[in-house]
Symmetry: none
Subunit: 414 residues, 2 copies
C-alpha cells in the first residue's frame, strides 16, 4: 500500500466558495509516511459523481481517502452513496447515537431528526470515532483495497486522521522512507538558478529528486529522498544539501519554510541587535512584514513611512537640498533616509527604501520599478539600486523582500 | 459550452506543500459566468498523468482549464506534454521571445537557455500573452472543445484569465443573463447579518439569490440575478440592492469588490483631504494597505510605526507621563498618538492604533486582543476600544480594517 488518492466532495469546492485545504494537509501527512499521492479529485455532492470518482480512483490505487458530504443537511449524500456503492444498509449505531446525544445536549441543544441521522452508518463499515464532531469516519474494504470517508470540516478530518488513519498507515507503510528538505533562496530567479544547478541536477543520486517552488521572489528548493533505508536516505540527502550550499551559498537564506522576516528576526534577536525602517515606496510593508513575527518588539523599534517628501525632511531629517538636487528616488536620498532613521530610532540597523512603485511617476531616466535600498549600521551605509517590474504590487513586495535580504546580508557579514 | 473542468498540475500540490488556491478562484469566476465546474483534478508533473487527466476531462466537458508545469525548469513538462498530445511541434515564437527578453533585461538579468525555452510554444496553439510573467498561456482546440493551459503562479494565472479567458467565456455564454452585485459590509458578523436579513431573504424574488462571503472581517453580500431578460434581471436586482441599503445602511461601505482602503482613498481624494497614521500593534499594516492603492501619494502623507515607546514619545511627542500612568495601550495614549501624528504630518486626519496583538503581552485587565483606535481631525479626536481575537495575525488585520472604517465614518460624517 504505497500509493493513495484523495477525493474531496462538495459543491462549495467547485464553485470556489471554499478552498480545499484538506487535500494539502492529507497529502503532506501521507507523503511523510511514504505514501505517494497519485491524484486529488474534487467532485460535487452528486451520487453519480461520487461513484464515478471512487470507481476511477480504486482502479488506480489501493487506498482512497474521501472528505465531505457527511453533514446533517439534505445536500450531504456521501453516506447513503457509499452504503449503496458497497451494497450495505444504513443501520442505527447505538454507540455513535450516545456520543452524538451527549455532544448535542452538552451544548444545550435539543436532539432532532437530523442529529439522529448522524448515527445511521453503513452496516459493513468500520466506524472511526470522531471526538471533534458528530459525523463519524467510515472505513470500507473491497478487494483488498481500503476506502476511508471523513467529514469535510478540517478539524474533524484531522482528528480522525490522527486518531485512526495515520497510525494504521504508519503500521502498513513498513520500511519505505520519504524525507523532504526545503532550502529557501532569495535574490535570484528560477531560470538562473536552474542554470547554476544544471550539473548538480544531472549528478543527483536516483533516490533524490529536486523541485523548484517559486513564490513572491522566494524560490524554495525541495529535495525529496526516498528509499528503504532511512539512514541511507538521510545521509545521501544531507550530502546533496551540503553540495547546494557550496554551489549557491549567497542565495540560500534558510531551510524549512522560514520567511525572510523570521530569518532576520532570529539573527537580530540572537545577537541582541535592533532595527528600524524608513520607507517610501514600500509604504510600511517592511514594518508590516516584520511585525507579523511574534516577539518582534524585542528587536524592532519602529518605522517612518515617509511617503511625502515633507516627512523625509521633517521627520527623517533628510536635507531638502538633497531631494531637490538628486530627486526623492536617488542614492543620496536613500542614504540620508537610512542615516536619519538610525539616529531617530537609535537602532543598530536602519533599512531605507525609496522608489517608483507605479503605475505612474516613472520617467525615462527613472522608470517605474526603479528602487533604491539602503542599510545603515555602525559600519556605515550600503546602498543598492534595483529595477523591478511594471506592476505596483510586485514592486512593493519585491522591494520589501530585497530590503530584508540586504539587511540579512549586512547582519551576517558584520 | 456550459460546463468545464479544472486540472492543476504539480507534485507540490499532491505532497501538500502548496494549497491549490487556483482552482477555487477559477471555479468562482466560471460559476459567476454561468459555467458549471464539473470536477477539479490535481495530478503530478508526469507525462502519463497529465495525458490521462486531460483525456478523462475532455470525455466529460467541452472546456478544460489547466494550470501549472509551465516554469523554465526541467520538472515542468506541461508544454512538451501538450505539444505531444495535440501532435504539434514546439517552435520559437518571436513575439514571446522579445517579451521575455525585455522582461529579463529590464531587471538587469541575462537571458539564458532556460529563459529562451519559455518562448518555445506548440505550433498549433493560440498564445495567450502573459504580462505578469514569462510563461505564456496556450489555447488549444480539438473536436470543438477548448483546452487552456496557464502558469501555476496565481498572479500570472489570474492575469491570463482576466485578459483572455474570461472575456472569451462571457462572449460564449450567450443570451442567458447572469448579473452579480456585490455589496461590501464591515463592522458586523455573519450570524448577526443573517438575522437582520432574515425576512429580506425570505421575500427575495426567485430570480435573485443571496450569498454571504466573509473574509478578514469584511462580509461581501453577493446578489446573483439570473434570467433570459437582461433588463428585468437588472431592474429586479437593483430593487433588492436598494432594499439592502434601507435595512443595513450603516454596515455597507461600498459595492463591487472595493476594499476599505480604496473607499477611504476615494473619499479623501474627492474632497482634497489628507491622512497619516501612527501605528503600534498594527506595525505599519494600515500604511501598507493604504499604499497598495495606486495614486495614494495624493492623499496619504506618511506614517510613524511607534512599536517601541521611545518612538511614541520621541517622534510622536506622546508625554512619557501618559504612558507610565495609563499604559501604552490606553485611551489617553492613543489620543496622544493621533494628535501627535496629525501635527507631525500636517494632515487633515490622523489615525492611531495601539493594542496587544499577542501571543504574549496580555494581562487580566488588558487581555490579548485589546486595541484602542483613534482618529484625529479638526473637529477633535474620537477613540474606540475593541476586543478582537486571541490570534496575532487576526488582531493585526482586524485592527487595521477597523481603523480604516472609523476613518471612513469620520470623513462621511464631517
Amino acid at each position: 500500500m504505497n500509493s493513495a488518492e484523495i477525493i474531496t466532495i462538495g459543491d462549495e469546492l467547485l464553485i470556489g466558495q471554499t478552498v480545499d485545504t484538506n487535500s494539502a494537509w492529507m497529502g503532506m501527512q501521507l507523503s511523510m509516511r511514504g505514501i505517494r499521492v497519485n491524484r486529488i479529485t474534487s467532485v460535487s455532492d452528486r451520487r453519480e459523481e461520487i461513484i464515478a470518482a471512487l470507481d476511477e480512483s480504486l482502479a488506480r490505487v489501493p487506498l482512497v481517502l474521501m472528505t465531505g458530504g457527511l453533514g446533517p443537511t439534505s445536500d450531504d449524500i456521501t453516506k447513503q452513496t457509499l452504503a449503496e456503492y458497497f451494497g450495505t444498509l444504513l443501520v442505527m449505531n447505538q454507540e455513535v447515537l450516545e456520543e452524538v446525544t451527549a455532544r448535542i445536549t452538552r451544548r444545550n441543544f435539543e436532539m432532532n431528526e437530523n442529529n439522529r441521522r448522524q448515527a445511521l452508518v453503513p452496516e459493513s463499515c468500520r466506524i472511526l470515532r470522531n471526538h471533534a464532531g458528530t459525523a463519524p469516519g467510515m472505513l470500507f474494504e473491497k478487494d483488498g483495497k481500503i476506502i476511508i470517508s471523513m467529514p469535510g470540516v478540517p478539524s474533524e478530518m484531522k482528528h480522525i486522521m490522527q486518531e485512526h488513519v495515520l497510525p494504521m498507515i504508519s503500521a502498513m507503510a513498513g520500511s519505505h522512507t520519504i524525507i523532504h528538505r526545503n532550502i529557501m533562496t532569495f535574490g535570484t530567479f528560477e531560470a538562473k538558478l536552474a542554470e547554476r544547478l544544471e550539473s548538480f541536477e544531472k549528478e543527483l543520486p536516483a533516490m533524490i529528486k529536486l523541485a523548484y517552488l517559486p513564490a513572491h521572489g522566494i524560490i524554495k528548493l525541495r529535495l525529496t529522498g526516498t528509499g528503504d533505508d532511512p539512514e541511507l536516505v538521510q545521509r545521501t540527502e544531507e550530502e546533496q544539501v551540503r553540495k547546494l550550499y557550496s554551489i549557491i551559498p549567497e542565495v540560500i537564506y534558510a531551510e524549512d519554510e522560514v520567511t525572510l522576516e523570521e530569518t532576520v528576526g532570529k539573527l537580530l534577536f540572537d545577537n541582541n541587535l535592533t532595527v528600524s525602517t524608513a520607507e517610501s515606496c514600500t509604504g510600511g510593508r517592511i514594518a508590516s512584514m516584520i511585525t507579523t513575527v511574534p516577539g518582534s518588539s524585542a528587536w524592532f523599534r519602529g518605522s517612518v513611512v515617509a511617503y511625502d517628501n515633507s516627512i523625509k525632511t521633517g521627520v527623517l531629517g533628510v536635507d531638502p537640498a538633497i531631494i531637490s538636487r538628486y530627486g526623492a528616488v536617488s542614492e543620496e536620498t536613500v542614504r540620508a533616509m537610512a542615516a536619519g532613521m538610525r539616529k531617530l530610532a537609535a537602532t543598530d540597523y536602519a533599512v531605507a527604501v525609496t522608489g517608483i512603485a507605479g503605475p505612474s511617476g516613472g520617467t525615462p531616466e527613472k522608470p517605474v520599478g526603479t528602487v533604491w535600498i539602503a542599510v545603515a549600521s555602525a559600519r556605515g551605509i550600503v546602498a543598492e539600486k534595483h529595477r523591478f517590474a511594471d506592476d505596483r504590487q510586485v514592486n512593493i513586495s519585491r522591494s520589501a523582500s530585497t530590503a530584508l535580504n540586504l539587511l540579512r546580508k549586512q547582519i551576517i557579514s558584520r
